[in-house]
Amino acid sequence: MTAAVLTKVGVGSAGALPVEPTIDPARAPAATPVLAIEGLTVGTGAVDLVIDVSFEVAAGETLCLVGESGCGKSLTCLAAMGLLAEPVRRKSGSVRLGATELTSLDDRRLRDIRGRDMAMIFQDPVASLNPVQRVGRQVAEALVVHEGIAMRSAMRRAVELLGRVGIARPNERANAYPHQLSGGMCQRVMIAMALACRPKVIVADEATTALDVTTQAQILALMKTLQDETGTAMIFVTHDLSVVAEIADRVAVMYSGRIVETGPVDALFDHPAHPYTRGLMDCRLHALSAAGGRLAAIGGTVPRPSARPVGCAFRPRCPRAEERCEMVPELKPFAGSQSAACHFPGSAR
């Protein structure tokens, strides 16, 4: 990867940069995942908020987690990072980074791994940065902590990183406080911080949701470019299916705490197997598609975790529901590497 390409991203024509893909987006997950989550259940007291979630991400791969508000996307990310806070806790399941089981590590070892091997980017960059510390210093401190280099050289590298994520005049901007930068620029700082130690995994939770389309396009292009360069695995949470179309290799759709469908991005767009995925696809709106008419809304709302219906949690909203749906459907292979948790996958309503 050359600095020239990065500069182009930063100066930014509006659109995503058409870099020649170095990775075939349709390929199956690699044999050795960087991060593997298995049977993860998260909850409070007797209530389960994330239920039996399993997925893997390989080097250079982007897995998008999608689903409506409250489906458990953020808690899944936090559990993967070992960042759950009371009263929410991991009840069972494993999180493996390479060969290391993270759930059995103590806090100190876990903190070491966070930032160095795994980094998280949140939706609200301004709130995630320290408001009373200059942004250059914040990036530098991540380097000091995780790379063990001296502050002086860390500052130099921080400025370099700020330049590489497309911040113009990085020397000057390094001295700014977060509130003196725009939302897009703060998100670039967060990305610089996440990249500082070349992590193996980046977890991005609605990282571009608060940004304008033009800034979003630049940030998505930037993340893809840097990912191609570093081979970082990415878990990208979004509720925006056109962002999924833009960045995902594979997709996991969550509903009411469970993964209900997973597969390569093309398969999910071309032939969604689960009625919920189909419903989400049907209520998409795109400025370049024909407009007008009534929308195919999914009626009703996501059930509260404490009041899930018996059996398939999507049942009250599902146009395809039958008696059999009173039993919880397992996540089973559907076609190719696509899986769905539905008794009638792929069948029209």
Binding site: S13, E68, T214, A245, E246, F269, L285, A287, L295, I298
Partner: protein, 279 residues
């Protein structure tokens, strides 16, 4: 052509600057010489990036804020001084729905009480000018049987329905929707957009529909105005603005839109690589 419901003529609004590292202390021109018309039963979409002046324009159009220069006329008359009896009448005819419904509602009152309270305040309860009883209005927006609930007992989509119900109870002619569906899931967003369109077909209400989401605006609007730095840089029929944008800024906005599908993304990237190769 019908008589316009709302006319903005060369309207500007400036604020005193906030200062800061990269800003001088000079005035911010949030809205800069805007002309626009909105007709009864019409939806005018306003798009543009953050800070382009959309919300300020919405406040000026609804009369809750007044222009620094230029004229705003609603149903042929300027907005009356804030607080005057004439203003209260106008206030009933123009309702505003914002992004965050939980802040728009009183947490201590049931949904029915809030709708009734709004009607009482305008002397509308049981009157002929009103859209019906609070229960009938709540049923109209799909909140049948939920009137006794308090805001914290409703989902985001239900809260936004409650805000819309309260607006409807005053039989407005214009509803300014400022990012009204932006915080909602696509499924719930679709429910609310369908509701807004049904209400327009039935009651002839006009919308000034502000959103940064071009897909949503394209779907609901008859006409679209694109804002940049406080100015309207392009207006036109919704289909035309997206199919053949004339302004360079509109073109840039559309070029930045994420793709509708992975196949569309690959086609676009291939096209761009070809264009780059040609240069």
């Amino acid at each position: 052509m019908t008589v316009p419901l709302l006319v903005l003529a060369d309207v500007s609004r400036h604020y005193r600057g906030k200062g800061g590292l990269f800003r001088t202390g000079e005035a911010v021109l949030a809205v800069d010489g805007v002309d626009l018309e909105l007709h009864p039963g019409e939806t005018l979409g306003i798009v543009g990036e953050s800070g382009s002046g959309k919300s300020t324009l919405g406040r000026l159009a609804s009369g809750i804020e007044r222009p620094s220069t230029g004229k705003v006329a609603f149903q042929g008359e300027p907005y009356a001084p804030i607080g005057s009896p004439a203003w209260r009448r106008q206030r009933r005819s123009v309702q505003v729905v914002f992004q965050n419904p939980s802040q728009a509602l009183d947490p201590r009152l049931s949904i029915t009480a809030q709708v009734r309270g709004a009607m009482d305040a305008h002397g509308l309860t049981g009157g002929k000018a009103s859209a019906g009883s609070p229960a009938a209005i709540l049923a109209r927006v799909g909140l049948e049987g939920l009137g006794r609930r308090y805001p914290h007992q409703l989902s985001g989509g239900q809260l936004q329905r409650a805000v819309i119900a309260r607006a409807l109870s005053l039989s407005p002619d214009l509803i300014v929707c400022d990012e009204a569906v932006s915080a909602l899931d696509v499924s719930v967003q679709a429910q609310i957009l369908n509701l807004l369109q049904d209400l327009q077909a039935e009651l002839g209400v006009a919308y000034l529909f502000i959103s940064h989401d071009l897909g949503v605006v394209r779907h609901v609007s008859h006409r679209i105005a694109v804002m940049q730095h406080g100015r309207i840089v392009e207006t036109g029929a919704a289909g035309d603005v997206f199919a053949s944008p004339r302004d360079a800024y509109t073109q840039a906005l559309i070029a930045a839109l994420p793709a509708a599908s992975p196949a569309a993304r690959r086609a676009r990237d291939a096209r761009r690589r070809l264009e780059l190769a040609k240069v």
